[in-house]
Symmetry: C2
Subunit: 203 residues, 2 copies
DNA sequence: CGACTGATCTATCTGTCAGATATATACTCC
DNA sequence: GGAGTATATATCTGACAGATAGATCAGTCG
């Protein structure tokens, strides 16, 4: 299947919660699904244009609060019945997996003994990031059931978050184990270098 | 940071094992690192062109086995010392994380009670894929130490594979748990529909 | 030998996307 | 009233995925 074309549907999906501006759409999507889905800024407005072009959303132009002729122009998008059907059809389609592309792992694989010191810093950073991510997702999972969030199915949302939780847990565990391995390798490397230096001293 | 520009370095990294054709480069990369890194076909030749343009690789044109003037032209690329330095510099740079983009999770989040039946099929498919992936990575981790693979650092390679292993384990566990939850929801849904039908029968 | 088949190999094209950037208005706190 | 921040619309560049094209080579079967 051809690449993507998911952005318009993600936007459409967010419109189910009610009419929104492009900016708000992105903000809401990021707040609700940012842990497993991210939209690029550059795709929002082309995406919204496509929605109106296909008749899946209606664009309402409003004047800013000032009310005067120089008030800011705001665009509010609203899903049409046709758009609702298109969304349902897309939701029924099997999701596409993205190709694996992890630059950290690639660099680990391509590296060698001489590059052994840098990775531990990256792994430490990843450990911090994943720990934070884990905290975030657990907080969301706890808060969500109590909140009055407008959503369609809390249980599906929690499933998605649980996936993130498990992935992050696995990442954290890997980071910890890998860090200790890397430290052992660094020590061995340091000993090796010292030994070489003794055999052929610089001075 | 700007998008990628990792393809040329991935190719350069593979050239450390010796001169290769573009086709072989991609094959080797996929065999060794395909579980955590994938290269697009469309990037190979532009990438190789960039390597020669920058003086990081030399391109040797060879004739096919036929030897005649009509034999197939083969291009073999070889890393230059300048290329080796460029690779080292790139390897020392911190890796960039890709933005999360999981279409399955997005669809789960955007779906509702009426769309509840489709996801279980997707999750079942994911379970099969991840189980297979897990088998693959474990097999590689077992075979690698015995093999005579040309590589720079077996331990780094194994680290990368261990990451994949942990991620896949987490995915499998999530699939199993999610499948049972979805089945419960489907049953509840079926009961709800039957109840509705009883209250307002079609006939 | 010649036709067929599948693997090897080089290469291009299209559309999607990430990330940066530009620009301007509205609100808020001091 | 000024500074700083949030809201908002929008464009541009280059990287990238996936599909496709087209050619050559090796093996097989009749």
């Amino acid at each position: 299947m051809r690449p993507g074309r998911t952005t318009p549907f993600a936007l459409l999906g967010m419109l189910r919660l009610g009419p929104q501006s492009g900016y708000a759409l992105r903000r809401e999507l990021s707040a609700a699904a940012g842990l497993f889905w991210s939209e690029s800024y550059g795709q929002i407005y082309p995406g919204l244009r496509e929605l109106t072009r296909r008749g899946w959303a209606k664009r309402r132009v409003e004047r800013g609060a000032g009310g005067g002729p120089r008030g800011r122009v705001r665009h509010r998008y609203e899903m049409t019945p046709k758009g609702a059907r298109a969304l349902q059809a897309w939701l029924a389609l099997p999701p596409r997996r993205s190709a694996p592309r992890d630059e950290l792992l690639l660099k680990l694989y391509l590296g060698d003994r001489d590059t052994v010191d840098a990775p531990s810093g990256w792994v430490r950073r990843l450990l911090l990031e994943e720990t934070d991510r884990l905290r975030q997702v657990r907080r969301m999972m706890e808060i969500l059931p109590r909140g009055t969030h407008a959503h369609r199915s809390l249980r599906h949302w929690l499933m998605a978050l649980e996936f993130v939780e498990r992935q992050s847990e696995a990442s954290v565990a890997w980071c910890q184990r890998t860090l200790s391995t890397l430290e052992l390798m660094q020590e061995a490397n340091a000993r090796r270098r010292t030994a070489l230096q003794r055999r052929s001293p610089m001075e």
